[in-house]
Amino acid sequence: MFKSIKCATFAAIRCAGFNALRCGYRLRLSMRFFNLFGEYVLLMRKVFSRPEKFRVYYHQTIKEMDKLGLQSVGIVVVVSLFIGAIITIQTAYNLGNPLLPRYIIGLSTRDVMFLEFSSTIVSLILAGKVGSNIASEIGTMRVTEQIDALEIMGINSASYLIMPKIIATVLFNPFLTLVSMFVGIVGGWMAGVFTDVTTTQEYLWGIQFTFVPYYITYALIKMFVFSFIIATVSSFFGYRVRGGSLEVGRASTQSVVSSSVLVLMANLVLTKLLL
């Protein structure tokens, strides 16, 4: 009897202890989140302050468009071409029923490319390519005291380094979405025709069937928001680096993971709001 009471007491204490630990952990986690969010908001306030010299910022934005946007066209083209082709072949493979019209292949390729791939998946690819580039560039500038050098000169380093990147990606990435849509459709057509799963006519009919032009606007709005998330989150993680090369690498990883998760969360919200 006494033994069972003792066991029950220990179990209760252990349970309470675990609960307290769990609560403490959750509290720490939420505090860390609010801390990071607060830092992010403060950084953005610094970023969107009046530029020192518009001409210099304009030139920086053009350079960033080349570095972050134009140099991403290649990977977007390659990935979109193959994904368009794969969607076509997989749709054809799943259309076992002869009663189903073959133009569905073109239609499904179009819808997947327009609604999800060219905005969300391309954004995830860009979060990896552009996001890590931004975080490691700014992080390296931080650890090699280049950001301190800017501050000493009286330059708002956050604004000078981050604002052109945000403007460049927000303006250029929607163009990448359009490229991805076009190339994906072409990739689908090539795969369909060369593997004989559809004809050009059926495919063209499919991509025009019940076409809703709003899908393009929807994809462009999504890309606009995702580009902002990628540029700001990556810059944030790069800007707050302290230490050496190890921390720069860690910031780069953090930026890719965080911006990817945020892109997916924003995707859910935007899809609910816009469709």
């Binding site: 020192e52 010299k53 210099v56 390296t140 500038m141 090699t144 005291e145 280049q146 301190d148 050098a149 501050e151 000493i152 000169m153 009286g154 330059i155 708002n156």
Partner: protein, 249 residues
């Protein structure tokens, strides 16, 4: 003139880096701050230039309390500052010429050719020739330091700050950099503060020397006074190498 008045700096983790430091750095002189690694020299320099906020105390630039100004007010004083960092801190993506032209582009209304001319004057002053189109990664450590000096003097600063300008350089190049800093200080009549633990620099260019030990100002004097000081900690620092032990009076 720069005055540091009762500066106390404590980091968020509770570590006290500077403890009631008072010092005056004279105009037209090379003021040296010496001390062991971790003594608080760099923290003091970063507090002076505003990269670290002081916990208490004041930093005065010609009677203007710098640490109490807002970002916009600080900007006008910062444009009179030039700084040479330990690792040079040249912008990787810009060429030598663009690095020197950068502050001119940001803060002056000069045309491109005027900026280029000014950059060439500064680069010639630090004996950098035919390297205008090279990137920092293509330069030696000594050349990077000289380009950083050229960038620091491009806007004709009133204050020059150097954080361990000789670190990673051979003795001969160190002397070149030291001499350059001293010449520029006297030539432009600027207030120069140099952080160093290189005794060659101390003996060579130290018009005024301040010794920092464990976050406190431990000793102040001239480079000539150092050899005759009876301060135990200073003597341990100064006469720590075999070479300096031999010249001990």
């Amino acid at each position: 003139m720069i005055t540091v008045s009762h500066v106390y700096k404590q980091f968020e983790d509770g570590r006290v880096a500077l403890n009631d430091v008072c010092a005056t750095f004279d105009q037209g002189k090379t003021n040296l701050v010496i001390g062991q690694s971790g003594s608080g020299k760099t923290v003091l320099l970063k507090c002076i230039v505003g990269l670290h906020e002081v916990t208490s105390g004041d930093i005065l630039f010609n009677d203007v309390v710098f640490n109490r100004l807002n970002f916009r007010e600080k900007k006008s004083i910062r444009q009179k500052m030039g700084m040479l960092f330990q690792g040079s801190a040249l912008f990787d993506s810009l060429t030598v010429e663009e690095n020197v032209m950068f502050p001119l582009e940001m803060f002056t209304q000069m045309t491109r050719s005027e900026r280029r001319d000014r950059a060439n004057v500064c680069l010639n002053r630090v004996n950098i020739v035919n390297a205008n189109h090279l990137y920092p990664a293509e330069l030696s450590g000594g050349m990077q330091k000289r380009v950083a000096i050229a960038r620091a003097i491009a806007l004709q600063p009133h204050y020059l700050f150097c954080d361990e300008p000789n670190s990673g350089l051979d003795p001969r190049t160190s002397v070149v950099i030291d001499t350059l800093i001293q010449e520029i200080t006297h030539e432009f009549n600027i207030t120069t503060i140099v952080n160093t633990h290189d005794m060659n620099s101390v003996m060579g260019i130290g018009d005024k020397v301040i010794f920092i030990h464990q976050g406190n100002k431990w000793w102040e004097g001239t480079s000539a006074d150092i050899l005759h000081s009876d301060n135990e900690e200073l003597n341990q620092f100064v006469f720590s190498t075999e070479l300096t032990k031999k010249i001990r009076p």
